[in-house]
Symmetry: C2
Subunit: 83 residues, 2 copies
């Protein structure tokens, strides 16, 4: 079966977010009253798996092995079956 997976990788609190900081500065210079900007990344993945449980296991592994850096990143994901 095929699954549509959405993984969001965000920085753990306390880690610097230079892209967010630069974006905040740029918006501030354009006179927008912005107080904070944080950037995160979304991976939309089409994955084959035998069941929802199998898909969850694979996505956990993928996040830990490849997509998220355990020192600085949090990850969360949603999975839905493709009909």
């Amino acid at each position: 079966m095929e699954y549509r997976v959405r993984v969001e990788i965000s920085l753990k609190s306390g880690h610097s977010d230079p892209e967010g900081e630069t974006t905040k500065k740029a918006l501030f210079e354009l006179k927008y009253p912005v107080k904070a900007v944080n950037v995160s990344k979304v991976y939309n993945i089409r994955l084959e798996a035998t069941s929802l449980k199998d898909a969850k296991g694979k996505v956990e592994e993928i996040c830990r092995r490849l997509l998220a850096n355990p020192v600085k990143d949090n990850y969360e994901f949603e999975i839905e079956e493709v009909k």
Copy 2:
């Protein structure tokens, strides 16, 4: 008032997504049965505005002026008031 804004920037269909392609290849080499990967970016913004309508107008402008490239990017956003 203060608003929490979540802007998601994704590629328009037909535009190449080298980061997604590279991620797909890396996952495939790790033996994950991945059929497609697309990457998008999320900006979490704290913004001051006088009303929800004012906040929406500012966010539209921010997306068009700074965050999204009209040639290749789609954007969508959600806004909620910070209590």
